[in-house]
Each structure stands twice: as C-alpha cells, then as structure tokens.
C-alpha cells in the first residue's frame, strides 16, 4: 500500500501512529488519502487539541473528507476504529466484505487474455462467431439479480473487435461555443492586450490590431447505459467504448442503470480497460437484472442532472426501451431529461431488426422526447452512427419518422 513506509515523527507518540493507521483504513475503504493529508491531519489535531470526541471527529473530518459521498465512509470508519484501539483488522474486514482472507481466488482481470496470448490461434474461428450475434431477450424481469459478474473475463477476439469499433467510434460531435475567446486572425473583437504588446515592439508609432474570436470546445458527454438482462450482450462492448471516450476526452460521465442507477465515471478513469471494467463490475449490484427506466431516470434527474448536465451536455441514452410499466412517470422524466440537456441521443440495439416498429409502449412514450434515435447493435451500425453523428447528420435519425411509420 502506498504510504505504508511513512514513519510518523516520534514526538506525537501513539496518536500519530493511530492517525496513520486510521488513514490507511480510510484508504482501504476507498477515500483517497495521501501522505500529505496525514501530515495535515496531525497538524489539525494538534491545532484543535484533543477535546471531546465530537471535536476530534470533525477535526479529522475536515482534513480527510474531500467529497460529500465520503462522509458516510468516514463516519463508519471512525466509529469502528476509535471505539477501541487495535481493531484495524476487523475494520478492514468489515469495509471489504468482498475479500475475505481465505476466499476462493477469483480469476484476475486479464487472466484470460494472458492465457489466450499463450495459446492463441486454436479457437479463433469459434470465438469470432459468438462475437456479436444477438438473441432477443424480451423478458423484463423485475427481480434484482444481485450478482457480481466478472466481465473483465473478456475473450481476446471480443476485445479486439471492440477496440476496432472504438477506433472508428471517435465521436465527431459538433463543438459548442464557450464564453471564452482565443486569438483569431479574423475575429470579431479587438484583443487590446496583444494589440498593445505588438504595437510596443515598433516603438508605438503605429497600432497593430489583433483580434480574438470565440473559443469552441467539445461539450460534456453523459452516457446512461442500460445493463438489464435484455441488454447484456451490448453493455460490455459499450463500456469499452465509454472507457475509450473517457480516456480521450475530459468531460465524460457514465451511469449504469438496471433497477438502480450507479455512477461509474470514476471507475472508468482507470487507464487499463481491464481494471476499469473490473471496478465497474464491483460497483454495480444489479448486473443483468430487470430494468426500471422511469425510476432510474428519476434518480438521475434528481441527484445528478444538475451536477453533470452543465455547459451544453450531450446525453447518450443507451437502452432498448423495454420498460415494463411505461406510464406518465416515464414520459415526465424523459421530458425533464430532454429539457435539461442540449441534445438527447437514444441509441437502441432493437433497431437491428429490419422490420422494427415503434410499437412497445415504453418506446412510444420515450420517442417524442429524444432528438435522435439511432441503431447500435454491431460494429457496422456503430460505424454508420459515427458517420452520422457529426454536424449535419442524416434525417433517418429523426424520431418522428419512427412514430409516423406506426401511426
């Protein structure tokens, strides 16, 4: 563990030691605590003095907690740790229920890949076939399947295919204008600062006008990915795509939803796709379960919309839209989502069927509220999607066309 070698100054005695152990416990619990913060904590405790337990609590809280979500973790860790000293092992065990000491070893992320790298070429043909062939699962089970699915165990063929797709899938989203300016030869405003500087070079005899124009940058992207049972085959590939997207651009937020909504943005920031997908899998309790689009959207609108949809965000909603109870609530929530973002793009794998018609109630409820409706089921359709996503995309994506077809 990083920072484990750090030795506290002797003068602080047991307190320093305790705080150090406590910091390590916090780190294990998932609060990022660096050695600098530990020193801060020591300084803070000395500044505040050891008064009541409450003061001590808030003193450490002030230093260690940097995000509101971490408050809960801190609270639990504090209560367990400082109830009596020397309970570190117990604490670690309680905070890490998924890793009991003698549990059967789960295959490590990437193990399949190593194996395949060694014995490649034997069953390539077989794997390619199962790659992106999809069966239709229209069962929308309401039962929440609380299972951990290790999808880091992806086969080489799948990863290669996904990577190929991802390379083509650099989203050419049109950039949005920001309120900042940048030097521009034919800008519409005079840049006084640069004008003056360049005029001075000539001794100030003539004024050399410089201009600025608006600066553009790619808008934030927010992806809402359905991971319910009927979407299983796509979620993996899509996570890879979103991982690549997160890697390439700064402002990408990713949420997974089945029966509940999970923010996996942080997990996807891991450099290695294996690590990232493993982290995702660990944080999602409802993999391949049922789907509740309305309540997931409600949770998103209430808890996250105001935090991630600023500055002209584009929302990618990736779901088949097979909602069991499509009603006014769904219409209300999708409408609110539509109003809070700049562009709402619905990517639906069901569009792979030649004769797809927008008949399902969930789909009919959601269609009027999206800006674009696009297929997303294999690498080819991904490529066409990308081609169409640039400025001036085709009209085939207009959701109204699908509604008219049925009506």
């Amino acid at each position: 563990m990083a920072g484990g070698e750090f030795t506290p100054p002797r003068s602080h005695g047991r307190l320093a030691e305790n705080i150090l152990y406590f910091a390590r416990a916090l780190r294990t619990a998932g609060i990022p605590v660096g050695p600098g913060t530990v020193l801060d904590a020591l300084e803070a405790v000395q500044a505040a003095g050891i008064g009541t337990r409450e003061d001590f609590y808030w003193t450490l809280h002030a230093v260690f907690v940097k995000r509101h979500e971490h408050s809960l973790l801190f609270d639990q860790a504090f209560r367990i740790f400082f109830r009596r000293r020397g309970y570190i092992d117990q604490l670690m065990a309680m905070l890490l229920p998924q890793a009991p000491p003698n549990a059967p070893r789960t295959p490590e992320a990437g193990a399949t890949r190593v194996h395949e790298a060694l014995f490649s070429g034997l069953d390539d043909e077989l794997k390619r076939e199962q790659e992106i062939e999809i069966d239709t699962r229209l069962t929308v089970s309401d039962r929440e399947v609380l299972q951990r699915k290790d999808f880091a165990q992806m086969t080489n063929a799948e990863i290669a295919a996904a990577k190929k797709a991802i390379q083509r899938l650099i989203l050419p989203l049109a950039e949005v204008r920001t309120r900042r300016f940048k030097p521009h030869p034919r800008g519409h405003l005079i840049d006084v600062r640069r004008t003056l500087r360049s005029s001075l070079k000539g001794g100030g005899d003539f004024i050399d006008l410089r201009f600025v124009g608006p600066k553009t940058k790619p808008p934030p992207v927010v992806a809402l990915l359905d991971i319910s049972g009927s979407m299983t085959q796509y979620s993996r590939i899509f996570l890879h795509f979103l991982h690549a997207l997160t890697d390439a651009r700064k402002r990408v937020s990713t949420f997974l939803f089945g029966t509940r909504l999970t923010n996996v943005t942080r997990a996807l920031r891991e450099r290695d796709p294996d690590d990232a997908l493993a982290a995702c899998s660990a944080s999602v309790p409802d993999w391949s379960g049922g789907t509740r689009i309305a309540s997931s959207l409600h949770a998103f609108n209430k808890l996250w919309a105001r935090r991630v949809l600023g500055q002209g965000a584009i929302v990618l909603l990736i779901t088949d839209g097979l909602e069991r109870d499509a009603d006014d609530v769904l219409a209300f929530e999708i409408d609110r989502l539509h109003r809070s973002c700049q562009r709402l793009i619905w990517l639906n794998p069901l569009l792979r069927f030649e004769g797809f018609e927008a008949r399902a109630r969930g789909i009919r409820t959601m269609l009027p509220h999206v800006d674009e409706f696009r297929p997303i089921h294999n690498l080819d359709s991904m490529a066409t999607l990308v081609a169409a996503l640039g400025p001036g995309g085709s009209r085939a994506a207009d959701p109204k066309l699908w509604l008219q077809k049925v009506a």
Partner: protein, 309 residues
C-alpha cells in the same frame, strides 16, 4: 452588523462558534471546528451544499465580526484572468505611448517598463486580496466556483497554495499575510480534487429542527412562538418529501417573514397553499403538493407538535 474593528482570530473551537453567533449565525459545532482549523492552519475553507443553506453568509459574517475587508469574486462561465486578477488600463497606456512619441522618446525598453508599471495596473479581486490591509488580511470569498470552468480552477491552484499570482510583465506578487479564503460551491459540477486537496472541505447540510427554530427566532423576531414552531416543522417535513429542490434555510426565513407580514398566527391549508411559492421554486414540486397532500402534511405536522407538547 458590527462596525469593522480588527480583532484576533478565535483561539478555540468554542470561540469560533461564538464568533459566528455574535453576528446571529447559529452554526453547528462541525462548522465551528472546520472554520477554526481553517483559520488556525491558514487553509482555504471549501463549503459545498445545496442553495440557501448559508454558505456565502459564513464569509460575510467572518468579515463583519473580525473587522476584515470582504473581497468577493462571483464566478461565472468564461471568467478569465482579466476579470479575476488584473487588467492593464489600455486607454491610459495608449495615451502614455502617444505622449512619449510626442516627446521624441523611442527607446523600446524604457517605454515598455513605463507602460507596464503599477500605475497602469487595474487590480481585480484576487490581486486585491493579496495586498496588505490595515485591518489585517481580508476575507476572500470565491462564490459558486462550480459556475466557472476547469481552466479557471487550474489557475486558482497557484493562488490558493502559495497565495501568489504571476503577472508576466511585472513579476510575482505574493501576499505577506495570506487572506482568509472561503470558497463555496452548489455542486452543479464536480470541482477537481487537486483544488479540494488544498482546502478544508465541509458539506453544509440542512440544520436540525432545534437549530432551525433558533435561526428563525433570531433572524425573524416578529414571528410568534407557535407559528415559528409550525413553520420549521412543516419545512422539515417538506425536506423528507421527494422534491426536486428542497427548501433551504433562506426559504424558511423568507417564508416566516412573509407569514409574519401577513399577520398569520397559525398555519392553515389555504395560507400555506397561497404562499407555497416562497418555499418551492419548481412548478412540479408545487403541483405535487397541491390539494389533499398539503392538508395531509399539515395535519401530520400539527399532530406531531401537539404530541411533543
């Protein structure tokens, strides 16, 4: 508010809580602790929370009670160095250049050092905050930092860790005594960890019933005992509802003041329904509470209060 007169920083957590209470800011002990530490350790204080829970107020109260100058930087999208730190007085510079020209001065270096001197510098909030003040280092309030973009955040790193800014034409300006920095955020986006790491973080939540009652009675003295109890209990119940935007303390105070202006003695469904716009700012939320739901909540609140008596 008290008249500005320099006074020492609080020497303990209790003193910090008392300091806030002096200006009628009734704070939890948690806020007192983090404030005391921020002052003692010379760290910026990062306050995050929903709108209307009194984040900005802390900075104002600090400046008033400590007798320090309050320098406020309101953040917005596109905020840049020219608006936040410094700007050159271009018009004056141009005139200076013309004058120099008329006098036959053509030495480029001399001209440059003349034109880029402090005389032509317009100081914006961040630079002002680094200057010495007779009343002691000022309180620098960086309000709603989540409204600006990442580029500006990155710039703040230098200011907040070393309390200095670099002006390319002049050099580095460093504060002899660092200002008291309070940063607030409504969390409309995540502020980067690198910035938070330099600060002491605190999430300002909604107050408990007792504290909110004390706040209402201090801030709106004209409201009666019974009404204030009902108002606070009702707002607390509202916060438990599934609302898009729960009412903050500011809304509670507005509502109490409004009811007191209307000479209301006790809450009844009609009055609440008429004045609900003071508490709730989203039509969906108001629609959700209309009719029988409102009466239900009110009855619940009243029966709870009766039981507590």
């Amino acid at each position: 508010m008290t008249t500005p007169s320099p006074r020492p920083l609080p020497a303990s957590i209790d003193a910090a809580v008392d300091l806030l209470a002096e200006a009628d800011y009734l704070a939890d002990r948690s806020i007192g602790t983090v404030l005391y530490l921020a002052l003692k350790m010379g760290r910026p204080l990062f306050l995050e929370g929903e709108a209307g829970v009194g984040k900005t107020e802390i900075a104002k109260v600090l400046s008033a009670t400590l007798g320090r100058r309050l320098i406020r930087l309101q953040c917005y999208e596109g905020l840049d160095v020219a608006a936040a730190v410094y700007e050159w007085n271009y018009a004056a510079q141009m005139i200076a250049i013309r004058v120099a020209e008329a006098e036959g001065e053509h030495d480029r270096l001399r001209l440059e050092s003349d034109v880029f001197s402090e005389r032509f510098l317009i100081k914006r909030p961040l630079l002002q905050a680094l200057e010495p003040d007779t009343a002691g280092p000022p309180v620098l309030l960086i309000d709603e930092i989540d409204r600006t973009d990442e580029a500006f955040e990155a710039f703040l790193l230098e200011v907040l860790s070393d309390f200095q800014v670099t002006i390319p034409e002049m050099g580095t300006v460093k504060a002899a005594h660092p200002p008291i920095v309070v940063i607030t955020s409504n969390r409309t986006r995540e502020v980067h960890d690198a910035l938070k790491r330099r600060c002491l973080y605190h999430w300002v939540g909604y107050p408990s019933t007792e504290r909110e009652l004390a706040i209402v009675r201090t801030k709106v003295p004209s409201v009666g005992k019974k009404l204030s109890e009902q108002v606070v209990a009702f707002v607390q119940t509202l916060r438990k509802q599934d609302l898009f935007k729960s009412p903050g303390v500011a809304e509670t105070l507005d509502w109490a003041a409004a009811l007191s202006e209307l000479d209301v003695v006790a809450l009844d469904p009609a009055t609440v329904s008429d004045t609900l716009g003071v508490l709730l700012k989203y039509q969906d939320d108001i629609a959700r509470l209309e009719g029988s739901k409102l009466k239900e909540l009110l009855d619940e609140v009243k029966s709870e209060l009766r039981a507590a008596e």
